[in-house]
Amino acid sequence: MELQETLEEGYVEILDHLRKRSLWMLHYCTACGAVELPPTITSRFDAERFGIAPFVTSRQSDILLVTGYINIKTLKRLVTVYEQMLPPKYVIGFGSCTINGGIYWDSYAVVKRLDLYLPVDVYIAGCMPTPMAVLEGFRTLMKLIDEGKANGWRKYIENYDYYKANQRKVLKW
C-alpha cells in the first residue's frame, strides 16, 4: 500500500514536471493588452522556447490569458470559455485592469477584480506589461506547476458556490 502511494505521488510529480513544458495558451484578448502578445510569441522573444504556444480553441488549451479589462458582457463569455476548458487549467491575469480595475476603476461596466469570478494563478502587473514581464509571468506559472502549487482549477471546483455567487451578483443570471 505504501509503495503504491509513493509511486502515485511520484507519478503526479513527473506529470507536473512534464506538463509545465507544454502549455497551450488561449489568449482571450479583451482589450489593449493584445498588442503585447505578437512580440511575445514571434521570433524576438519567442515564447515557444518555453513550450508556450497560442491556440485557438478552449477545449485543447491549458492557459487562459485574460489580457485587459473585463466588463459585464465579456465576463459572461469568459466564464463560459473557462468552464469549457479541461482541467488542469490555469488563469493568468494580465495587466493592472485585472488586478484592481486599472484606469477603469470608476467605470460603470468594468469589474475591478478578476479573482472574485475566476481563480487566478498568476498576475502580471503593469499597464502594459512588456513582453519580458509576460515571459516572467509564464516562467512563474511553470515554476508553480512544477512545485504543484498552481491549483486554481481545483480551488474553482471546491469553492464553486463562492465563485458562482460572485458571478451571479454582477451578471444577474
Binding site: 459585464i72 458582457k73 484592481n100 470608476d106 460603470y108 475591478k112 472574485l116 444577474k172
Partner: protein
C-alpha cells in the same frame, strides 16, 4: 452649396465654412431635413448620437452627414424634451443608423419608434439603473456599489 441647402430646409444655419455646416432644426422637421440633405448628395451618415443638457432638461440629437462629392460635413441638431423621450426612426433614410438608434435607447433611454431593436440590451446586459451616458448618472457611485475593490495599502516614498 449653402444656398441650395437654405432653399430646401426649414431651420437656422448656425455656422458655415467651406467644409462644415451646422444646421439647427425643430424637432418635427428633423427627418425631413435629413431626407432633403440626402437628396443634395449628403449620402453618408457618419454619426448619430445625443447630448444630455441637464440644465435645459433636454436632449440634443446630433446627426453628422457627409457629402463625398462636395466634401462638406453637415451637422444637423435638434432638441427633444427629456421626459419620456421618443423619436422617429431614420433608418428609412440612412440604414446604417440602426445600431446608433439601439445605442440611443441603451445609453440615453431614448425610445426610437420604428426600430425593432430599440431599448433592447446590446452592450449592457441586465442593466437596471439609469442609462449610463446621462449626465445625472453617477458612474463612480455605481462602480463602488456594484463592483468590489481590492483593499491595498498605497505607499509613496
Amino acid at each position: 452649396m449653402v444656398e441650395e441647402i437654405k432653399k430646401v430646409i426649414k431651420g437656422e444655419i448656425l455656422e458655415k465654412s467651406p467644409q462644415r455646416i451646422i444646421i439647427k432644426v425643430k424637432n418635427d422637421s428633423f427627418s425631413s431635413t435629413l431626407n432633403a440633405l440626402k437628396g443634395l448628395s449628403f449620402k453618408r451618415l457618419t454619426l448619430f448620437t445625443a447630448v444630455d443638457f441637464v440644465k435645459d432638461n433636454q436632449f440634443e440629437l446630433v446627426a453628422l452627414v457627409y457629402s463625398n462629392e462636395n466634401k462638406i460635413l453637415a451637422i444637423v441638431k435638434t432638441r427633444i424634451p427629456k421626459e419620456n423621450p421618443e423619436i422617429e426612426t431614420i433608418t428609412n433614410i440612412y440604414p446604417n443608423a440602426f445600431k446608433y438608434e439601439v445605442e440611443l435607447g441603451e445609453m440615453f433611454g431614448i425610445k426610437v419608434i420604428g426600430n425593432p431593436d430599440s431599448m433592447k440590451p446590446f452592450l449592457l446586459e441586465g442593466w437596471e439603473d439609469l442609462p449610463p451616458l446621462r449626465k445625472d448618472f453617477d458612474s463612480i457611485k455605481y462602480a463602488t456599489e456594484h463592483y468590489e475593490a481590492r483593499n491595498v495599502e498605497v505607499k509613496y516614498d
